[in-house]
Every structure is written in C-alpha cells, then in structure tokens.
Amino acid sequence: MLTFVDDKTLQKVAEAFGGEEAVQIVSVLKGVGETTDEEIALKTEIRLNTVRRILYKLYDHSLVGLRRSRDKTTGWFIFHWRLQLDQLAGFILNQKRRVLEKLETRLTYEQAHDFYSCFTEGCKRIPFEDAMELVFRCPTCNKLLMHFDNTDLKASLIERIDVLKEELGE
C-alpha cells in the first residue's frame, strides 16, 4: 500500500501522542521494521513503562501493530511492535473529520444564539434566553450583561470549516 504521508507529518503525529519521547520511539520503529519495547527503551534511553504507555496509545489508533511471542526460559510474553504507516493517512483523515464535526456543532450553536457577557475575565457568556431570566446580571460577578458580538468568531469558524472541508474533499 502506497501512503501519502511524509516524515514531517509522521513526526507531528508522534509528537501529538507523546511529545519528544514518542518522536524518538517512532523513529526507532521506522528504522527497524519490528522490535520489542525493551529494545526501544534501550535505544532511546526512555523508561520502559513510558515506552509501553506511548506504544499502547499509538496501538489504540492502529498506528503500530503488535505481535506476541513467549520467552522460552521465563515463560513471559514478549511484545514485538511495528509501525503501520499505511494507517497514518486514515488516522489523519479521521482526526480532521472529528475536528470538523466539533467546529460544525459550534457554528450551529453560534448561529442559533445571541450572547450576553459581563466581559469579566473568567465569567461565561450567557445566551439571550438565559440572560433574560437572570435579568441581565452575570450569575458569577453580578455585573450588568452586555451584548456579545460573535461575528468574528463565526467568520473564523467558517474559515476553518472551509479549509477542513476542502482538505477532506467535501
């Protein structure tokens, strides 16, 4: 399977999963094909339980695959890990769809409501219907609620949604 993901993107995905340590783990996996978590820990000098935690996170999204074998002397399981680069493009698409869904939910909400705010740091903005019930007083600081213009927010939302839709070919 030919994938369309470059090294930079792979690095970014790894970074999102577990920062610099995940980048190191992924780069070891990329170089060897299949290896054990213990070997990765040795090569990267990252603690074994951290290596395993990151590998399981990647495994949850099918970005790494896993094979189990049994140690003949101890009887313990040995886990052999491999990078599944063919899953990466799909993972990215899924993440984009998920973010797009959140943005669309937010846009619908922004378009359906008028908001009021006291503009105090830490206080929430209130939809018009709730502000009416509160007699236009902030329930947190009791300051007067003023109209909150969400035009910029809606415009930025639309912009981000359009970018994602274009990338997803929708």
């Binding site: 369309f4 999102a16 698409l93 943005l103 929430k124 927010l153 939302l157 990338e167």
Partner: protein
C-alpha cells in the same frame, strides 16, 4: 520485484514532496539512482494507478515529463494545534453534554487564533 515496489514508494514520496512544482522525470531517476528505463516504467505505473499526473515538457532541448502528485500528501497542519486533537475529555464531549464544543474555552481560543488557556479545565463551561 521488491526493488520495483520500493522505487515506486520512493518516487511517489519525492513527487509528493515537490507538490505543485512537480519534478522532472529525468531528475527524479537520478535522485533515486535508477535507470531511465526503470524510471519511465514506474512513472507510467504510478500514472495508471491514478497517483500522479505526467505532463510533457521540453527541457534543455529534450522532451521529458514533469510529474505531479494527484493527491496532496495527508497533512496534519490544519489541526495540529487544535485542542480537540488529543483532548482527554473527547469521549465526554458532545453538543449538549457537560463538556461541549459550545463553550469550550480552548476551542474558542484556537478558532480565534489566540493563546490557548491552561489545560486545567478543557471543554468545561
């Protein structure tokens, strides 16, 4: 046969990384250390698979092809700094849940392109 597949993959990577500028077929084979015969076969194969586009071009008095990727490489750039990407509250985040994109401060900050608030209350109202 494995060499062919490996070359195909490498060729596609080089073509993809050049994006809209495309890459000359003659330059590509030099970069991949392949013969022009091998090269043009792989280019044809990639074109047949619908992965690249070949456009005839006259370069230094010789006809060659410029190769363009048909699909853009998958990129995470547009969402890399999105708080939703690795949000620990994702499973509980929904339109009308206690954690929702409606009033998530981190999401608002990302949409507006401003500094994100601390992670202590992601998605909380």
């Amino acid at each position: 046969m494995p060499r062919r597949n490996e070359l195909e993959y490498k060729a596609l990577t080089v073509i993809s990384n050049n994006g809209n500028d495309g890459v000359l077929q003659s330059e590509l084979w030099r970069e991949l250390d392949a013969t022009s015969r091998e090269g043009s076969r792989i280019a044809l194969k990639l074109e047949t698979k619908g992965l690249i586009l070949r456009e005839k071009e006259l370069y230094e008095g010789r006809w060659t092809y410029r190769l363009y990727p048909k699909r853009k490489p998958a990129s995470l750039n547009s969402i890399i700094d999105s708080p939703c990407l690795m949000c620990p509250n994702d499973a509980r985040c929904g339109a009308w849940g206690p954690i929702s994109p409606h009033e998530c401060r981190m999401l608002t900050a990302w949409i507006l392109g401003i500094d994100q608030p601390e992670m202590e209350e992601p998605g909380e109202d």
